[in-house]
Symmetry: C2
Subunit: 344 residues, 2 copies
């Protein structure tokens, strides 16, 4: 069987309608609302064909049709009319980024809020990956007699810190010297370049404060751990409750429990390397837990290097057109913003 123009047009109408209404779409609806110039009977025949080809499904015998994942895929790839953002929306976004905050975390958080409010889906944003980031400063600051704070500052303005305990005999001056040494070793190096060998070497010589060095190295290694799930930012988690397909408490709870697993989200999204917007529909997702959702992902970069991921999660019955426009625009806007803010 062939997918001729008319079939495509009908499929498009059905999906458009279903995305808007969440109700199975009948042949008569299509004939009336989207004047095709053919009768409902003809449309019925076409719909039967489309179902046979796997683009539509029937919840039960005498209901209308709903799109299958395969149908949505065709829709996204070939049928959907991508309407860009309205001028007002674009301006709204630009305005928000225009007032510069001076905390990167705030920017990311704001991005997730913005995404969720623009799309009405749940936004998940990954903070910038550490591995392309340079270390600008390392310092040990004494906090009290037994504790010091190790701080690590990157050129993106992110700080990492860890409390380490300090043995009795160590004074402020000693810490200061170690800070200098650390800075000397690691300043302007990228995180991947940090090798612990130089430190370990020094440690071997310093029999005296071995314990202290152990905890120092410990703190440093956990600080630079690249896969830090604390860098997962959520926006509009409850948006999913607006959609009738998740009015079932059990499904809703499953979704929320998923969102609480930051490590899972991190693993899910970190892989998207390709720049541009990508769409994963329902069962295309490798994780069973997400096969009733669609995910739209974009990346953001700094000076051309991809450093993070934006995404939204919603029902497979998603407004793909709007979603893709928003993600595309936001990815670019955020990239520009970061590039301007942190690069010369």
């Amino acid at each position: 069987m062939e997918l001729d123009k008319r079939k495509l047009r009908i499929l498009q109408a059905i999906i458009d309608d279903y995305i808007a209404s969440a109700e199975p779409v009948g042949s008569r609806t299509i004939a009336k609302k989207y004047d095709m110039g053919i009768s409902s009977a003809t449309i019925r025949n076409e719909m039967a064909d489309l179902e046979e080809m796997g683009y539509l499904e029937q919840p039960h015998t005498s209901a209308g049709r709903i799109p299958s994942d395969k149908g949505y895929r065709l829709y996204v790839d070939r049928l959907m009319k991508v309407k860009g953002l309205s001028i007002a929306e674009a301006k709204y976004i630009k305005d928000i980024y225009a007032k510069k905050t001076n905390q990167l975390e705030q920017v990311i958080l704001q991005t997730s809020k913005l995404l969720s409010s623009l799309t009405n889906y749940t936004a998940v944003v990954l903070g910038p990956k550490m591995d392309r980031v340079l270390i600008k400063h390392i310092q040990l600051v004494p906090i009290d007699k037994r504790c010091a704070l190790l701080i690590l500052i990157t050129n993106t303005g992110i700080t990492k810190d860890a409390v380490i305990s300090v043995p009795e005999g160590i004074d402020e001056d000693y810490l200061y010297r170690i800070s200098n040494m650390l800075n000397h070793l690691f300043k302007d190096k990228s995180i991947e370049d940090i090798k612990l060998e130089p430190l370990l070497k020094i440690q071997r010589d310093m029999v005296q404060n071995r314990q202290f060095f152990n905890s120092l190295i410990d703190a440093l290694t956990t600080s630079i751990d690249v896969s830090d799930p604390s860098e997962v930012y959520l926006g509009g988690a409850t948006n999913i409750l607006n959609y009738p397909e998740y009015h079932d408490i059990i499904k809703a709870k499953e979704f929320f429990d998923l969102l609480e697993q930051k490590e899972f989200l991190y693993k899910l999204l970190i892989r998207s390397e390709s720049s541009g917007v990508s769409v994963t529909i329902g069962q295309e997702n490798q994780y069973k837990e997400l096969q009733e959702f669609s995910i739209v992902t974009a990346t953001y970069n700094m000076g051309g290097k991809t450093i993070g991921t934006l995404s939204i999660i919603g029902p497979t019955r998603m407004e793909y057109s709007k979603a893709i426009s928003v993600m595309d625009f936001m990815g670019k806007t955020l990239s520009n913003y970061l590039t301007q803010l942190f690069m010369d």
Copy 2:
């Protein structure tokens, strides 16, 4: 009418039963399950009295009784048997705090997770208040030609940071000198003691880099802003979905939307100053949005000074006994932990 012993005993049985079952409790249930030595008819009479006195309510004519907020209050104040934590639970908590993390944020986050998993309610934990906290270090770290990071470190190991832009003519050395000056002015001062006057004075003299000083002062003021809602940590937000009274999507959404308003939660909880555990039941809460919930709050301290708040939010049909035990124990354990970690 008088609240004699028998009435109290019946009220207690009703509330115990209702907390466990979430179903209106009938006279026959009480007579059978809690052998009182009196018949259901007598209990019926007593229940009618208790309702008249305002301790019980009837959802409709021929249903059993449910406790009113006033009933719960009496229960919490006089009837409830506080069973302390089991030895296993206490050990479980102690074990978790035994492995010291070196990041305060991790400790607070862990506390919220622990609270929610122990009680099955939603935990809200406020991070340590800044106003009793001492500044240990302030520094300006250059990030690139146009940016520097202002870091502020407290004796609790919390860092605050902000990116500020740096005008062309300023070199690393100049930043270093300013860092020294800031340290000199503010080191070992509490946040409340920070007066901007000395800075402003200097600023007046330094006509040259006025713009820079402006943004520096700006960043400093926002960093030390005491009422920072980012210090609100949630645990087990979806626990509420386990309780039948919130199987209604609309109620559930209201609750989640509430939790997203971090500022609101902050305002709600920051007031609890009294040490020990306090309970707010349903309509006792001043905020309408929370009058279908009960909140159990405890405080934690460091070296005797109250610096933060733990709380759990659940249905008014809460297991008060368990909740209060857990909150009490956790408040003390966290206080001990923090005191040991950061004080001498």
